[in-house]
Symmetry: none
Subunit: 193 residues, 4 copies
DNA sequence: GATGAATGAGGCTTCATTCAT
DNA sequence: CATGAATGAAGCCTCATTCAT
């Protein structure tokens, strides 16, 4: 079952959901075609199960680390930037993300699930960090709290870029994320005169 | 021919390239199935033609405006931010972008074309503005010149978000882009002490 | 009109009636697709017209030559053998013949026409020659009169062989036809003791 | 699989390869359309498989009978003539032959196969018999050894005639083949004075 | 007469899904 | 539980035929 999901993720990411063949999924998972239907009622259910099995364990760890950390907000932002950089560079997570962004419009269930389980948790984290920084006087601006997408955007783009444009123009994801966080911190901590 | 491209863009964006049916494209374009093949040798060629017909006229205007403008670099960044915000909110451009990001990995021709005709031109523009700002002493940091994706990212994410997550959580694209530019400007103009 | 027929014969022979495309016929004939329909109501009519335009002019000349000739029957058979050898080596006639033999089962009209205009006339000629030879005491056997196909067979096979097997194993059609006639003459003139 | 081949042979022979519809083949074989593709990658492969399944078992028996027989060469030719007469009257073999002669020019694989497995074996047999007759002094002429097509031709023509012209003018294949062999024997055994 | 763009029925092929073993 | 042969709906694409110019 896990093997089927893994194989399906591979193939959905590679060929696209529609173009991927369940026969190839079965072959890659080392099972027969019929076996898939013992665990997943349909191809679409398999897609939804793949995304639904994205439990965001790393995210949970980051949440706990940040909740527990006595470090200043800036440091927490750096921590989160690095976590995101790692996250989008891990092949499986990147594939799920690209799959959700590619097919989410047509399969509301996966968009909904991913938003609830991953996106909105990230957004909450960011808002919490910003709030902490504002409360402590460390930060002077709340834009990223109003638009947490601004903090997440480079990570999403990094994931997509890696899939779509990397062959044309490679991208150093970690370096870019670091630059992103530093720029943001400079803006956040700047005293508006 | 133009009607076919428009209808195909609609359906490819809506259903995905693989899942979209050429019969529906024909119906939407008001022609017969066979007519499509008078102009496009195959479904894939139609996809490539759609992307290839993205001429980036707006981008050309922005390039000229920026080249000709005597305004300070900060103002030019704002200008460009607004242009991008408008760009990703215009339905056709947004559809093409989402299509490229979704299918580009499987159709190198469209990734290549879009990168060459749109992305890399945007990147060049950003670098030019940053260079101008650095030369004039207006800017103190060159991160966005090293990673122009950082400037573009929110626009790409806005386009994707509008397609995938807007129903779950709407997004004020223009406001976000403005916040993005202002944050960035604050970071760029800050004196590192 | 003649150009259309010639082009169609080429393509029907090359690709088969069903697989040949009228668009290619038009191109080869140097006319537009629609023009074909000014002269032939349908693809099938074009096929029938091609075969129907086979007027057997050579056959007429041979008929006249044989009717007028004072030569012995054996000489007339040799004459006819050579005429057949030339006939099946002339590309257009060979194409028509192969087309009739390939498609005749499905298009009774062309089988009927070809049988009436070519085959049966050949048969009649052979029977006349045999009758002459028997009357003069030159021939002692009438098998080829009962089965004129026996005289024609090598010519038909030569035509087919040239189309189907020539690349694998070439065939000297004229030499074979000569050997055929000489063998037959030896059998026909032999005194059964 | 065998049922599919049989049904396909029927329909290809009846309508021609191009005009035959795989849907009808499936129906005639009592399977669904898709089932054909479990066994044959494409329509053309099905055609080739049909011809390739022509194993020439009868031919093998004739080869063995002739190799083992102590009978004089003339008797062996009669034997072979009868075998060929039967061969081209058996519906399946006749269909395959007509299919090869009709489509062989467009599908070199089937021409090649049929030539190698059937035609050239027949040719070899004829040459062996003629050689035996010459060695024993029974035959005085070697034309049919130089052009074995002369011996085969009436059988091929009989097959084609049955398909194309039988409705117009029936043909007693066995009687014709017998006349053919007798004529040939008379020519072969004649003392040239 | 001639054109060639447009049509749409129909063919080959694919593949998600089922089910007897 | 697992299999994989079989199904048949549906998609891409072709091409004979039509018709406005």
């Amino acid at each position: 079952m896990r093997a089927i999901r893994a194989a399906a993720l591979d193939l959905f990411a590679q060929k696209g959901f529609s173009a991927a063949r369940l026969e190839d999924v079965a072959a890659a998972a080392g099972v027969a075609k019929g076996t898939i239907y013992l665990y997943f009622p349909s191809k679409q259910d398999l897609l939804e199960a793949i995304v639904a099995s994205t439990i965001g364990a790393t995210l949970t760890r980051v949440e706990q680390a940040i909740a527990a950390s006595p470090a200043p907000a800036g440091e927490l932002l750096r921590l989160m930037g690095r976590a995101m950089a790692l996250g989008v560079q891990e092949p499986e997570r990147r594939r799920v993300l690209h799959l959700v962004l590619s097919e989410g419009a047509r399969f509301p269930a996966i968009a909904q699930f991913y938003h609830r389980e991953i996106i909105s948790r990230g957004v909450r984290l960011i808002r919490a960090i910003i709030a902490k920084g504002l409360a402590s006087g460390e930060f002077v601006s709340d834009e990223p709290a109003r638009f947490p997408q601004l903090f997440i955007a480079p990570a999403l783009v990094a994931a997509i870029w890696s899939v779509v444009f990397a062959r044309i123009e490679p991208l150093d994801v970690s370096a870019m994320m670091e630059a992103h966080v530093e720029l943001l911190l400079r803006a956040l901590t700047r005293r508006t005169e």
